[in-house]
């Protein structure tokens, strides 16, 4: 059953998975990071309290997070077609991945930033820092180790989601696992894709932890 076309398939699948995961993570951070920061700063105890914005953000985040990814994947198909012009393949999968991951990332960012000692923020305010300066010079740099750990968690979660997109022909290793391993009972193929997914998760997690540790000056 094994031939070179299978190898090509696996290699291609691996690259598709990495492409989907990394592109989605990047795009999801572009949306999720500011959302997470706003969740902290607009809080009633935050540096710029904005109750309405805070409540709205919280509701949006909670709703998006409570929809199972598989349902979201199908529900946003019209939007996916509008943005990418197609509904299958890895580029198309990026759209639902970003929608699902951004609110999750917002929560991760929120909790990382909340770990920063309020005393440090108060001190920077006492020196005349503007809210924007507090965010860019205090909150984010001080939360850096924790943000990096969060990014590793986000990346691996998105990787897991991307595999699920195989159900609707999303491309990548998940797609291969479903088409060959599930529909055609090719157990060997299934095992190989799973092993590769595990290895990629390990890699992201380890690299993330190492960088976070190196960046942490608190001890």
């Amino acid at each position: 059953m094994w031939d070179s076309s299978m190898t090509t398939l696996i290699v291609q699948g691996t690259f598709e998975t990495l492409y989907m995961t990394l592109a989605s993570t990047l795009l999801a951070y572009i949306i999720g990071l500011p959302m997470g920061v706003l969740l902290v700063t607009s809080d009633s105890e935050g540096i710029v309290p904005m109750t309405l914005l805070n409540k709205t953000l919280n509701i949006v985040v909670n709703i998006t997070r409570s929809i199972p990814f598989l349902i979201l994947l199908i529900a946003v198909i019209p939007l996916t077609r509008l943005i990418t012009g197609t509904t299958i393949g890895s580029t198309a999968t990026i759209v639902p991945l970003v929608i699902a991951a951004a609110p999750f990332i917002a929560r991760l960012v929120e909790s990382s930033i909340k770990e920063v000692d309020y005393g440090i923020i108060e001190a920077s305010l006492s020196m005349g820092a503007s809210p924007m300066q507090v965010v860019t010079k205090v909150m984010i740099p001080e939360a850096k180790p924790s943000l990096i750990i969060g990014a590793a968690i986000a990346t691996t979660t998105i990787l897991g989601y991307s595999a699920m997109a195989g159900i609707v022909g999303g491309g990548g290793l998940g797609d291969i696992a479903i088409r060959f391993g599930y529909y055609r009972y090719e157990t060997g193929m299934m095992v190989i894709t799973v092993i590769l997914l595990v290895l990629i998760v390990q890699l992201f997690q380890e690299v993330g932890m190492k960088i976070a540790q190196k960046q942490d000056r608190r001890k």
């Binding site: 440090i120 001190a123 920077s124 305010l125 006492s126 020196m127 005349g128 503007s130 740099p141 608190r218």
Partner: protein, 358 residues
């Protein structure tokens, strides 16, 4: 007795010379009030506060925990927005200006904290650079200023160290350097020495005094320790139950505390645990009129009444000893009467106390 006085004196010697301060208030607080409104009810943290702090003063604000002193210091740079009243910095009512103008005012009001609040992800040097970045000072000037400040606080070799590699005292020195970066006119200290051991506390207080004298910066010190006020403050305000109980020059307040809380703060310093007393115990209070001679020793000699000193706490202010002493007198009533009479005739306040003194 003399020995006791000497011992206490040496420990508590204060520098009495008052520095000439120009009589222009740099901080003026008028009818200030702050009420917190958490979901459950209302908490009045400050009420009707009036304070005027002159240029060049080292002004102590002292009170028990929960008295509102930390809220008060935060009202001076508006980290807490007062619910009523106004705060003037250098004649400008800062409760009426925009956020942007307030930020500029804050460049000239440095602040240090009990927990130092250094940026943990930045080196000492970069921490001092931080307020200069905030104020938009050009890199060249900022770098020079940072080096100067590290020199001023005596830590030029720690430029590249992260806060986690520094001791408490070193962290506070870096925090002081950081607070001074933008050449402030005022330095606010919120329990700045409370997390430090006694000898480090002394060195930090010395540094603050030096800064005050060399740079002429007005310093406001929030503390719960009378010894801090004694060591470096020129003026003091005693805050109790959200109000100012008493304020004025340190010597005046120490010499003649009028309110209960002031007496309590001044006389019971260091007396944390209560002393268990037997019968016939008396509290002897020394003030300006008394205590220049070894009164107790003379009393023992003259009345032949043997005295047991259970507790003494004296301070030397302006060459006079102030403080209190708790003594136990013998059982027999006659000698007690003689002793009490002797002390009273020397204008010393004597009162019988219960079974414990706190």
């Amino acid at each position: 007795m003399i020995l006791l006085f000497k011992f206490v004196d040496r420990r508590r010697v204060r520098n009495i010379e008052t520095k000439k301060t120009s009589q222009k208030p740099i901080i003026e607080i008028k009818a200030l009030g702050k009420t917190f409104r958490p979901k459950s009810g209302e908490v009045k943290a400050l009420e009707g506060i009036n304070l005027s702090i002159n240029q060049g003063d080292i002004y102590g604000i002292i009170g028990m925990s929960g008295a509102g002193k930390s809220t008060l210091v935060r009202c001076i740079n508006l980290l807490e927005k007062p619910t009523s009243g106004s705060v003037f910095i250098d004649g400008q009512d800062i409760s009426k200006i925009t956020e942007k103008e307030l930020r500029t005012v804050r460049y000239s009001v440095g602040m240090i904290f009990q927990q130092f609040n250094l940026l943990m992800q930045r080196t000492a040097e970069k921490n001092i650079l931080f307020p200069l970045e905030i104020a938009g000072v050009d890199k060249e000037t900022a770098k020079k200023r940072t080096a100067e400040l590290l020199e001023l606080v005596g830590l030029p070799d720690k430029a590249k160290a992260y806060p986690s590699q520094l001791s408490g005292g070193q962290k506070q020195r870096i925090a002081i350097a950081r607070a001074l970066a933008n050449n402030p006119k005022i330095l606010l200290c919120d329990e700045a020495t409370s997390a430090l051991d006694p000898s480090t506390t002394n060195s930090i207080l010395k540094l603050l005094k030096e800064i005050n004298q060399k740079l002429g910066i007005t310093i406001v010190i929030i503390t719960h320790e009378m010894s801090v006020v004694e060591q470096i403050c020129s003026h003091v305000a005693i805050i109790d139950k959200s109000k100012i109980a008493e304020d004025g020059e340190v010597e005046d307040i120490f010499r003649n505390p009028k309110t209960e809380i002031a007496k309590k703060m001044i006389f019971s310093e260091g007396d944390q645990g209560s002393v268990i007393m037997g019968r016939n115990t008396y509290r002897v209070v020394f003030d300006e009129k008394s205590s220049s001679d070894s009164v107790i020793a003379k009393m023992v000699l003259e009345t032949k009444c043997l005295v047991n000193i259970l507790h003494a706490d004296m301070k030397n202010i302006d060459g006079f000893a102030f403080g209190q002493m708790v003594i136990q007198l013998p059982e027999d009533e006659l000698s007690v009467a003689r002793a009490v009479h002797y002390l009273r005739s020397h204008q010393i306040t004597v009162e019988e106390v219960g079974t414990h003194v706190g």
